[in-house]
């Protein structure tokens, strides 16, 4: 039971990663590698500041801002520097590695004895593992709500149109470069926020904690789509969180089978690869009915 509650809590906290990446991967239609750097960046900024005595709220907010700046850098490299988006993301990600080492002053910092977002009266009085569940629900509801609002404004619609058909967007007077930059900033801000929360939940930040984040984020998005099929955009955002929880439960099941935590990245990649290959497997095996549509619909 405890393991399942813990997995749900993890799923909720990690859901932010999927929500952040959704803006670039599904709406702007490209894979942004920056997130592999911004996730540990958020963790590093939050933990370093908290360990120097800053309020965890302010430190978490700073992590969000740091992520936005990283997104801005990738956005400028891509739109103004005309560097292909994949490479622009990799460049920023690589640069952030050094910056993270500077921020942390080493390859990891611990939060032992420091107050974090989880150390408030309400969360501390909950049974074990329920604190991350409640923190996760709170933050996921707020971020999902903000995204739904954003995407349903005139500005947000122009943002969606930019990803859907940039040439048309331009012909309607939408500044597509600006939209891409805003999308990357918002996306990376949310990913850094996720890093800050995970680090506080784990009690430390580590230079290598970003490895595999893009796969985890994609897994949440795609598991959500496979599991729930045809949805409206608002529902899709909610499905990301559910996908993230399902993903954690899959990992839990795999660990119960006797795999070690060292195998997690291998397992994550296999899970994601399987989900992405579903449409192909469907064709080969003619298993149309048991597998719902949704994975490749837009590709």
């Amino acid at each position: 039971m405890n393991l399942i509650v813990s997995a749900i809590g993890q799923g909720l906290l990690w859901a932010l990663l999927g929500l952040g990446l959704y803006l670039t991967f599904r709406i702007l239609n490209f894979a942004d590698m920056t997130v592999e750097g911004t996730f540990p960046l958020g963790a590093a900024v939050a933990v370093a500041n908290i360990s120097h005595g800053m309020s965890p709220y302010l430190a978490t907010l700073l992590a969000f801002v740091a992520g936005m700046i990283a997104g801005l850098v990738t956005g400028l490299l891509y739109t103004k520097g005309k560097i292909p988006i994949l490479l622009a993301g990799i460049l920023t990600m690589t640069a952030i590695y050094s910056i993270n080492l500077r921020i942390m002053g080493g390859s990891n910092i611990s939060l032992i004895g420091k107050k974090t977002l989880l150390n408030n009266e309400f969360l501390e009085n909950l049974p074990q593992y329920f604190n991350s569940v409640f923190l996760g629900i709170g933050i996921v509801v707020v971020i999902t709500g903000i995204l739904i609002f954003f995407l349903n404004t005139d500005f947000g619609q122009a943002f969606i149109a930019t990803g859907d058909n940039p040439k048309m967007a331009k012909s309607l007077g939408i500044h597509t470069d600006f939209m891409v930059i805003i999308g990357l900033m918002l996306s990376n801000g949310i990913v850094a926020l996720c890093g800050a929360l995970i680090a506080q939940n784990n009690g430390y930040a580590d230079i290598n904690m970003g490895i595999g984040t893009i796969v985890i984020a994609l897994a949440s998005i795609i598991i959500g789509e496979v599991a729930f099929g045809e949805l409206t955009l608002n529902q899709r955002l909610v499905a990301v969180t559910l996908g993230s929880i399902i993903y954690r439960l899959i990992l839990l099941a795999v660990l119960q089978l006797g795999f070690s935590a060292n195998d997690l990245n291998l397992i994550s990649s296999i899970v994601l690869a399987l989900c992405m290959m579903l449409p192909q497997l469907e064709k080969v095996t003619h298993l149309k009915k048991p597998i719902k549509r949704g994975v490749n619909k837009h590709d």
């Binding site: 404004t153 005139d154 947000g156 619609q157 149109a161 048309m168 309607l172 007077g173």
Partner: protein, 254 residues
């Protein structure tokens, strides 16, 4: 004399090919477009028809020359800014619409053409009756598909939507770049008829590129023949009426 809506003065535009070669396309275009003109444009491939549109719309900047809109110099104005007064329909039905958004969402985007877009909740539901009325004009059932995703529409409906999007907020200048070329003859005819009707009823100023000599003669009050980056022939209403398709072919030959 009526005031000219758009004026091009000795506009020269070069285009860079994939391997970096710079090729002159427009070699000195002089053109005065009066308000209410419906100009059909013909010319061989490479004559500069599309480059002319790209230069007017601002997606290409001329190397020299001047473009005036209502007497104001817009030569250096950005493409995005020019959308305040230019509406455009592309040849490829996929080009002018957002496939993963609904018909109504596309139309809503178009009502904000050239305007600042704010963090204000979109007014989709409130606009549906208006959109329905507008879509009915297209005469192809588009009004019943307002909540469908555009990717599910037929090419004809998609192109009708593109046309509607370019005109839903009245543009000073409407650019039609062979907008019916990708459609079957029947659908193409229907869209051209609606295009003609809309332009006349709303007194729009329009430029239409076409490869069909018959259409070039049938529609519009003025005809341009582009050849080798220059306006070779510029014919007005009375003369245009007398022209035959064979006359047009003669223009290409010499």
């Amino acid at each position: 004399m009526t005031k000219s809506t758009l004026e091009l003065k000795d506009v020269k535009t070069t285009v860079k090919t994939a391997d970096g070669e710079i090729i002159p396309i427009l070699k000195g275009i002089n053109l005065k477009i009066k308000s209410g003109d419906f100009i059909t444009i013909i010319g061989t491939n490479g004559a500069g028809k599309s480059t002319l549109f790209n230069t007017i719309a601002g997606s290409l900047k001329p190397d020299s020359g001047q473009i005036l809109h209502d007497g104001q110099d817009i030569t250096k104005m950005s493409e995005e800014k020019r959308t305040q007064f230019i509406g455009r329909v592309f040849q490829d039905p996929k080009m002018g619409t957002a496939p993963r958004m609904t018909v109504a969402e596309n139309l809503l985007l178009a009502t904000n053409r050239g305007k600042k877009r704010f963090l204000k909740i979109r007014k989709l539901k409130e606009n549906i009756p208006h959109f329905k009325e507008m879509a009915r004009v297209m005469n192809n059932g588009l009004e019943n598909r307002l909540n469908s995703f555009v990717e599910g529409l037929s090419g004809g409906q998609r192109q009708a939507l593109s046309f509607l999007m370019a005109t839903i907020e009245r543009p000073d200048i409407l650019l039609l770049d062979e907008h019916t070329a990708a459609l079957d003859p029947h659908t193409s005819e229907n869209l051209l008829a609606v295009t003609d009707k809309q332009i006349k009823e709303n007194k729009l100023t329009a430029l239409m590129i076409t490869h069909h000599m018959e259409d070039a003669l049938k529609y519009g009050n003025r005809l341009l023949v582009l050849k080798d980056g220059r306006v070779k022939v510029d014919i007005n209403e009375p003369e245009k009426k007398k022209l035959k398709v064979s006359d047009l072919y003669a223009y290409f030959d010499d």
